[in-house]
């Protein structure tokens, strides 16, 4: 019993930590399901996409460029482009998974959605990231995303336009909150400013989703440059 209580406690703590994001993701999943219904996907197809891809951003982009019959090259390449940031995210969180076995590390990466990654980074920064805690944030979030996609696909047109009540803003709002949590002083400010300017400029001049990779790489370059200046000063 005692041996079980610690992982169980960690699992429950994970569920508590992810709860606000579960609430935030349900309207987004409903919208995704409703949008995919208007694009001619069946409820089964929509649910399969949410369960297998499990990356909201790339799923919305796929709906944006969806054709009949579906083009696997088109949406596959778009998903690669939208999710290229996951390479950086996985490299970063991978250095903080000391208590995960190798197999668990790879299993954990399959569920590396933005929100789960950000929460895990946060946890690693303020304590120890354990497999049980990670399972605690993944389970309800994954269930909520897949379940709300299915519900959205079934309800379809009944849902109306989410922009009227601002629900489309839940996802950016969560990210704003998380960005504030990563603030560590002026150097973070320089990274944020560089990433933001590069992303907005790229978004303005280059069609598609290159802005995410451009902003992220510009922010990284700024961090490396600041690090070099610090090295030389020392």
């Amino acid at each position: 019993m005692l041996q079980h209580s610690r992982p169980t406690g960690e699992f429950l703590a994970g569920i508590r930590a992810i709860f606000p994001l579960v609430v935030a993701v349900i309207p987004i999943g409903l919208v995704f399901g409703a949008v995919s219904a208007t694009k001619g996907l069946s409820a089964l197809e929509t649910t399969l996409m949410s369960a297998l891809v499990f990356a909201g951003g790339s799923q919305f982009v796929a709906m944006d460029i969806w054709m009949h019959p579906a083009s696997w090259i088109g949406v596959g390449f778009a998903a690669l482009l939208v999710n290229i940031r996951h390479v950086l995210m996985s490299a970063s969180i991978g250095t903080k998974m000391q208590s995960f076995s190798i197999i668990r590390r790879y299993a954990a990466m399959l569920f590396l959605a933005d929100e789960l990654w950000a929460m895990a980074e946060f946890r690693a920064g303020s304590g120890r990231l354990t497999p049980a805690w990670y399972a605690g944030i993944v389970t309800p979030f994954y269930a909520a995303w897949v379940g709300s996609s299915l519900a959205g696909a079934l309800l379809g047109a009944f849902l109306g336009d989410p922009a009227v009540i601002g629900l489309d803003f839940a996802f950016p709002a969560v990210f704003v909150v998380l960005v504030m949590g990563f603030w560590k002083g002026p150097e973070t400010g320089a990274i944020l400013a560089t990433s933001g300017v590069a992303a907005v400029a790229t978004h303005h001049f280059v069609p598609g989703v290159w802005y995410i990779a451009a902003g992220a790489l510009a922010g990284l370059a700024m961090a490396l440059w600041k690090g070099k200046v610090r090295e030389q000063a020392a």
Binding site: E45, A62, F169, V177, V179, A218
Partner: protein, 100 residues
């Protein structure tokens, strides 16, 4: 409940693309030695990625979104996440209704 073969192929292609990006970072760090510069870069990843994702919404969509992002950021300094997000969503809905 239909399952079109082209749709299934498209979903599998998306899944494969997504999984390979999520795995490759882990593979990458197993094959490089983490010196000080790599650590600096890896520490910068969370804020750099998050900012790049939200920047067009925050700065280039409209006044309602920009002001709501600012309100959310200010709220996040004091309030828990759910309260800050709710405040942001309410702000953007009110501003859009007001015609911003």
């Amino acid at each position: 409940m239909t399952l079109d073969i082209n749709t299934l192929l498209a979903i599998l292609a998306m899944a494969l693309a997504t999984i390979s990006t999520r795995i490759s970072g882990l593979v990458l760090i197993r094959h490089i030695k983490l010196d000080e510069r790599w650590k600096t870069a890896i520490e910068a990843i969370p804020p750099a990625v998050l900012m790049a994702v939200i920047a067009p919404t925050a700065f280039a969509t409209g006044w309602a979104e920009t002001l709501a992002c600012a309100a959310t950021a200010l709220a996040a300094r004091r309030l828990p996440m759910l309260a800050s997000v709710t405040l942001g969503v309410a702000t953007v809905a009110l501003l859009r209704a007001a015609g911003f």
